[in-house]
Symmetry: C2
Subunit: 442 residues, 2 copies
């Protein structure tokens, strides 16, 4: 669960003043003959480039019984290729003064580096090599599986809050794979082997399934030429992999998930609603949900914070978050931490009151405008980071949106009306279909 | 959910006084060359035979995204074959004074007829024909899908109690397919077509995957000869279909599922624990759970009934049920209907008390003996019905047990100790991992 008490964590790329703010030209998008998408984000402010490859598959595309394979393969992608033994790529990036990382989410897996722009071609050669020449032996796969199991033990199995999040997600998604943790279920990770990893790699790591994103002081023509000379040499497959995900049935019951553990020192409350994502929403609906999250729980002037923390002193923190970037229907979180001597039941009832009040009363025009301005402004500030900018485009494209969607986002946010926010609250904040999570000490 | 307020609903076949009580020889089990299992249950009391074919696949074997296909195919099995047009088989059974039916469960699908013993060979010819010669056209598949959708509307979508059961099962099984309703999710049933049905039929309806059960005044030799002449002509496939089911991760959180609907007139409470089945349990453990269910909730002298209905008058009914027949880990239900003016929260707390009391105090020896005697006696009485007898063997074999397991059951029940019941209660009735369901009016 990503929680954010600020509106800054918008989940869609803003393209305010595209180009000029970064001292560059417009963002370009094209496709190589082998299907690879190429996005160039000119950014003349520093002599650094951000180079990312996004694969349009994440944990929600893990085959049944193989949960965790997307994330496991992300680890294995650092294990060397036919041309470069393990460590050579990472060592090179470090020697050239760069940074690298990778991440796996429900809907995508991505690899990125930041480096001086003169080294872009080198990175592209290495990353393209890794797209088609990965070498995997049992000698590297088996110990790496232990690394992942240890990662799971550290992050989830020894952390009651993470355990509750897993149980809440599983309750929210009874059928759809968003109910399965990105890292996978322990007993399924244990059974993953070299063949599983290679099958997965061969199925998903293809140019038709990838998006190259380059941000930096470099022009579209140069990037496209370099991409052709590197990634462009990888042959296309017969057809790109399909995302075949089971869809969630309608829910009719509220589910309260309670995790009580002696390790819990600070109780916590969360409520999650299943809502449309930017990809699945009707026009304007996702923007209304984004605005609603900000008005309800985006910082110290939000409805939840004012009511629970400032006025009633039932909570020490409270917020809301809309996880809008998702291929399928997604999550809207409301969360709070109770003040000392306040029970989770009391807090839960108070949260019901705040949400009901929000639905019952007209949306305040000034509050609405403040939220929209803040969301768009935060997005503009975030453009200061070249890596954030590249990541936003990647996340949007990897979840089924377009560069045009990204660039139209500020205007669509400005167009959100009080009626749209009220309608979103009425329609989607329906407790009868939601999941509530209680984290409490034993 | 199958709920039973009596201990009679034992979920495993008892074989008390095997043979003699029925005036017949011992139950026999063999396998034809093509893999078909043949079980003969001699029963000389009437000139009637029960003829059943069990397929070792149920809704839990539905391919991902095709929920409901096992049940849908059960409907389609009545649509005619290359040799017998639709209706001919059923008409014949009726003309011969017989009865027929079919049922789909999580772990199996079965077809059966009861008929005068002189007609057994005819039934076997028709049923064997249906095992390999099914004809399906869009003209029969599409309208039958509408029949199934209507069945779902009637049974589930317009019944809040059934909706709650679906949500409770989905919460209990976040990953394993027991969390998916046998009839399927509506949106997936809608997408099932002729190809799906044929693929499924070709995969699962094979002699290696089937069990023939014949009970009646007929000997093993005759049945085996007839089976060879009918089912025995169906060629074996390369290998029997595998049950590849994802397994459930461990649960650490209690889940309360609340369904509030204006159609609810009588509130209800249920709590479900995930427990081992006869197939997955350690030796003696399933029998202890069976006994525990009887002591806790089997009739008017059980702990739940006495405490909630008789003494505290908080409930008008209360019981417990162990669904022991299952390939994978299964369900132990505790359920109660509140008395007027008693809230579900009050009832829930009282149920906690009863369960905690049961765990805290020594198991009463007289109560234990009464439960065991009753379970075994009920099983003996149930042998009076030839169809029940045949069904018990079928259910046991289709969920991975053997004829010997069935016949040893009464002795294993007699061997259940107070310590074993107490240990089962302590280990498995752990609310922290359970699901509670509240059905309440809006």
């Amino acid at each position: 669960m990503r929680l954010s008490a600020s509106c800054a964590a918008v989940s869609l790329t803003p393209g305010v003043d595209a180009g000029s703010a970064r001292g560059g030209a417009a963002v370009s998008h094209c496709r190589l003959e082998n299907g690879l998408e190429v996005v160039v984000i000119p950014d003349a402010r520093t002599p650094v480039v951000t180079h990312m490859v996004w694969y349009k598959n994440g944990s929600a595309d893990d085959p049944p019984g193989k949960s965790g394979i997307a994330h496991f393969l992300e680890h294995l992608m650092f294990k060397g290729t036919k041309n470069h033994p393990q460590g050579q790529f990472s060592d090179l990036v470090a020697e050239l003064g760069g940074q690298e990382n990778a991440f796996t989410s429900y809907d995508y897996t991505a690899y990125f580096q930041r480096i001086g722009k003169e080294h872009l071609e080198t990175l592209m050669r290495f990353e393209a090599d890794r797209m088609c020449n990965l070498l995997l032996s049992d000698e590297v796969v088996t110990p790496e599986r232990d690394v992942v199991l240890e990662e799971r033990r550290m992050r989830t199995d020894s952390d009651p809050a993470a355990q509750l999040d897993e149980a809440v997600q599983a309750a929210l998604y009874a059928h759809h794979p968003y109910g399965t943790p990105i890292i996978g279920w322990n007993h399924e990770i244990e059974s993953l082997g070299r063949e599983d990893a290679l099958d997965y790699y061969n199925r998903f790591y293809t140019p038709e399934n990838a998006i190259l994103i380059v941000a930096g002081d470099i022009d579209e023509e140069t990037v496209t030429r370099l991409a052709r000379e590197t990634y462009g040499r990888i042959p296309a497959r017969a057809q790109p992999p399909q995302r075949r995900r089971v869809q969630e049935p309608p829910h009719r019951a509220h589910r309260l998930v309670t995790l009580a553990d002696e390790k819990v020192e600070q109780p916590a409350h969360e409520r999650v609603f299943k809502v449309p994502s930017y990809r699945t929403a009707a026009p304007g609906e996702a923007e209304a949900l984004e605005t609603l999250a900000c008005m309800l729980g985006g910082g110290a002037t939000s409805a939840l914070y004012e009511a629970l923390v400032v006025e009633r002193k039932l909570a020490v923190s409270a917020g809301a978050y809309y996880a809008g970037s998702a291929v399928d229907d997604t999550r809207f979180w409301v969360f709070a931490t109770p003040a000392p001597d306040v029970t989770l039941d009391q807090l839960d009832a108070a949260i019901d009151d705040v949400l009901q009040n929000f639905v019952d009363r007209p949306v305040d025009a000034a509050h609405l405008q403040r939220a929209k301005t803040r969301l768009v402004a935060d997005a503009v500030y975030a453009q200061d980071s070249q890596a954030s900018l590249a990541r936003w485009y990647g996340e949007a494209l990897a979840t089924g949106l377009t560069v045009a969607d990204v660039e139209a986002w500020p205007a669509r946010m400005e167009a959100v009306t009080a009626d749209a926010v009220a309608a979103a609250a009425r329609q989607w904040l329906d407790k009868r279909r939601a999941v509530t999570g209680f984290l409490q000490p034993l």
